[in-house]
Amino acid sequence: MTTHGATTAHVHKAPEGFIWKYVFSQDHKVIGIQYFCLALFAVFLGMTLSVLMRMRLAWPGVKIPFMSSDFTPEMYLALLTMHGTIMVFMVLTTAPQSGFGNYFLPIQIGAADMAFPVLNMLSFWTTFVSLMVLIAAFFVEGGAPIGGWTAYPPLSALGSIAGPGQGAGMTLWIISIAIFCAASLMGAINFITTTIDLRARGLSLMRLPLTVWAWFVTAILSLLAFGVLLAAGILLLLDRVAGTSFFIPGGLVVSGVVQSQHTGGSPLLWQHLFWFFGHPEVYIAILPGMGVASHVLATFARKPVFGYRAMVYAICGIGFLGFMVWGHHMFISGMSPYSAFAFSIMTMAIGVPSAIKTFNWLGTLWGGQIRLTTAMLFALGFVSLFISGGLSGLFLAQPALDLPLHDTYFVVAHFHLIMGVAAIFGIFTATYYWFPKMYGRMMSEGLGKLHFAITLPGVYLIFMPMHFLGMAGHPRRYADLTGVAYLKDLLPVQQFITWVAFATIAAQFIFLFNFLWSLKFGQRAEINPWRATTLEWTIPSPPPWDNFAGHEPIVYHGPYEYSVPGHAEDFIPQNQDPASVARSLASGVPGGVPGNDARLKR
């Protein structure tokens, strides 16, 4: 512990009793773990749904053992909708930002907790209610909604005449998302305020770890995007329950019935509102992964992040451009070609900051003393997936190419690689990297590497062939297309993908086992097992409830001072006293490095 700390703020008293310690906790670390557990539950639920869908696609007549009825196309659509919604909101939005961000942002900036601990607790429990309402949609009459996670009207606005699940299930879906919006806004206010106001002395913006930058910008995106989704959701709900016509056009005929109570609304209006949220949402999912990848690459290459400032500006640039490009989801909606051109140019412009990040990651690795820990492997996997998933975005960004590729498996492949799997790899990176700090024990490196060795080829073998399905014209969202001659020949590809998916999903149980086993039996972790520089590695593992035990660390160094020439250690913790650094540089003897009594054995 640094002796240079001033007495810091006590955000709250040490919690007492099980309820206040672990259930309605105001401790950002407990809340972070709560979010992580919620996301872990949600990801296995979402994965189960995808297994069922894959089976239906590969073997159209398949009977699922515990399902009483036939596997109808409507059931497939319900699984598809719930898979997308659960994964996007409850996993990709929740784990990287609310989970790891909650746990590590305050520690990395030297704060005792978030700025508003009560709001933080409310934010988690609101998210929990949102998930419960969403799951409840499975158990109401008609079952879960079938409109996809984008819930396009008019079919999402008409009620059960539009199909099973579009009745009560769809209503619950909208309510769940509205609750989730409220939770995310609370979280965003907390993240931004904490980053602006509670940084330790000496921790200027350009000394923030890139993880903090990513969480900070992500929170800004959440703050500006979720209010728009909330507004759209309220209008959609009113169209359903109050008979308004915001999104439902007049004279609409559905299932042979004229929807006469509605006049002149615009389904496209929903698309604009939804995607104004929806595109920033993509970056809400992926930016934290970029932050973690940068952080871990520098740690295990033992080099400063190449072009730190450029990385910061690239994060900000991606966040800014993310609000300008929602129209590229709507190229085939009949928009003016001039609008499409503008959206297309803006979309491809995102390639610039993305390329800056990619080349800087490669630059960070260049000439480094690379140590292939599991966390490092997943960070490298993240970079790989970011490149291969991002490149197909350049195809889809062009209206002329999007015309044939829209709503095909090409799009499914693209967004699963870039938004789904890349972000999940970010989560894995964060888990393997920070597990020792969170639980005081090391995860098994052997099992971790086995997990990686199956997962990386697995996801490529699942999603790469989907590009070809898409180019062959296979549309998405259909349970089966065996009745269509030219698509029937593609069935073996679907079957191949399903087999690989089984194997890849099985590998995730290695992760789950490793996680649970290491909690109890993992090797004890030292304070700083990775010999890293940022503040979380200067306090015990796991950290005490007030993080810095009543002291505020003072920061003297940038976040990635690895392999400084002349310095005895190959890293300088951010809070190391400059005088001891100077002594060390002069004599080559290590100076009192805070939290550095721990050495990695290898």
Binding site: I192, G202, L224, G227, V228, S245, T263, L273
Partner: protein, 217 residues
């Protein structure tokens, strides 16, 4: 390269606040080092309320942009706004003025003056909401219900959304009102200040929404 970086870092003195670019650190006497060591800096409440207002702005901008788009479609019927809205607006603006009187009394350590003006502000807030309810009744009496036409739908949605946010403001005003004087005086009266910022903003937001509804009929 890292060597030069290090030299730069060494020059930062112990007392430096890190010079965060333009984020206002170190210019707040109630921040770290000042005031009670066991409390967080009061500026978090200011930051928090402005962020909340930014989110609220996005929410209403989404509704207003939907209003503008929807208005361009063929079935739009012009809505005659109830006259009482103008009275309501005057009431709400008056509440902002009384709020400033209360804050003035607060800075002069005048508890009775503060409580009087703050109570009047709260009462005016309730009057505004009651007036909005009358406006809804009048509109309904003239045959415009929520689902009658998109124009009336938007009227009800925008006014109701504003009313809900204003209720939050009233809750904040009441919270300040029931607090003891010593508690309010703590930490430079941050509670009253934040409630005031929010209240003025709701006032301004209403004027904006009224102009949208009036000019965009």
């Amino acid at each position: 390269m890292p060597g030069t970086v290090l030299t730069e870092e060494l020059e930062i003195s112990h007392g430096g606040t890190g010079g965060g670019a333009g984020d206002g650190r170190g210019d707040d006497s109630s921040g770290r080092g000042g005031g009670s060591p066991s409390e967080l800096p009061t500026r978090i409440y200011q930051t928090g309320v402005w962020l909340a207002l930014a989110a609220i702005v996005m929410f209403f901008m989404a509704l207003v942009s939907a209003y503008i788009v929807r208005k361009g479609l063929t079935d739009w019927r012009t809505l005659t706004l109830p006259k009482i809205l103008w009275l309501n607006t005057a009431v709400l603006i008056a509440s902002s003025i009384t709020l400033e009187r209360a804050r003035h009394a607060f800075t002069h350590d005048n508890e009775s003056g503060f409580r009087l003006w703050w109570s009047i502000t709260t009462a005016l807030g309730f009057c505004f909401l009651a007036g909005q309810y009358v406006a809804w009744r009048q509109l309904a009496a003239s045959g415009f219900y929520l689902a009658t036409n998109a124009s009336s739908s938007f009227f009800y949605v925008l006014t109701a959304a504003h009313a809900v946010h204003l209720l939050g403001g009233i809750a904040a005003l009441l919270y300040v009102l029931i607090r003891g004087w010593a508690h309010l005086r703590r930490r430079n009266g941050i509670g009253a200040e934040v409630a005031g910022v929010y209240w003025h903003f709701m006032d301004g937001l209403w004027v904006f929404l009224l102009l949208v509804l009036q000019m965009g009929r």
